[in-house]
Amino acid sequence: MLKVGITGTTRGLGQVLHDHFVNKGCHVTAFNRGSDMSAAAGCDLLINNAYGIQMDILNQLYASVGKMVVMGSIVTDFPDVEMPDYTVQKTKLEERVLELNLPNILLLKLSSTAYNDSQVVIDAIEYWLSNPLVNVISFRATGAPNR
């Protein structure tokens, strides 16, 4: 049985992905505020979703999980002056993923399109699980360019 860990499952995409993998019959562990992330070591798939701790989780766990999906953002292509900290964090995260250049990591560059249609995110992850030579998938913006 596939062991899946997901950070930030109380709402949004994390919650949707949690339900998706549970419905698939995977053994899913939710990691939320206060969780001991060392328990994620050994997961077959870790969804590095919760904003704010993504870089730490990437550096701490990339070598000890089977695969990792990192939730990035299209703000790295369309910088958002209204969210400078968010833009900087997502840019550093993307740079680190590309620097590592590991075949077990997928960078998803999300937009509001993806947040509004979580099925496309599920499809992208499932596609990557059988096509690991893809290392970045970016979603189209809707409304403002960087959203």
Partner: protein
Amino acid sequence: MKVVITGHTHGIGKALYEHFQTFGGWEVVGLSRSNGYDIDQDFDKVIEAASGCFLFINNAYRDQQQTKLVHALKNRVTKMIVMGSVSRLYPELIHTDYVHDKQELAEACRLISIDPNGIDVLHLDLSFIEGMLDSEDPTHFVSDYNLKFEEIVSAVNFWLTNPKIRQMEFRWKLTPFVFDQLKRAFPTLDPSRVTF
């Protein structure tokens, strides 16, 4: 539905041309130099042949012609798939007109993706492709991750059902052997920019 593919007689274009021919419901049109559709010399003919199609696969490379095709067809086709290159991400590493052309191509696709009225465009950043190594061309090398044609076909199929995706980048990684080849071709190569 009509799909038009440039450069359909070899490589990726041929693989996609044959793929769509096996599918029911597609009218497949291939445009290549061999049938009188050079994307440079016969540019207007190519535009005329592709206008109105459901899917235009902007595959054949010739200087800046791919980017010109994006601009000329962005309001004349329903969907477009554009064959770019991961080399565009490493302009400091490889200084060629090819890399510059692929950068401009990516930017043209990026701008369409933020146009609320823009068509669905998928920009594929392709890496090294198995079976397409040209030993005479210094920009062509093998890597640790060589794409197979079927993986590109798979990406195209995936996108046709998920057009909210605008870009997919394939992994590349150089071997020390390839790095040595690159160093000979490009003496100013910065080793710190290369991932092994």
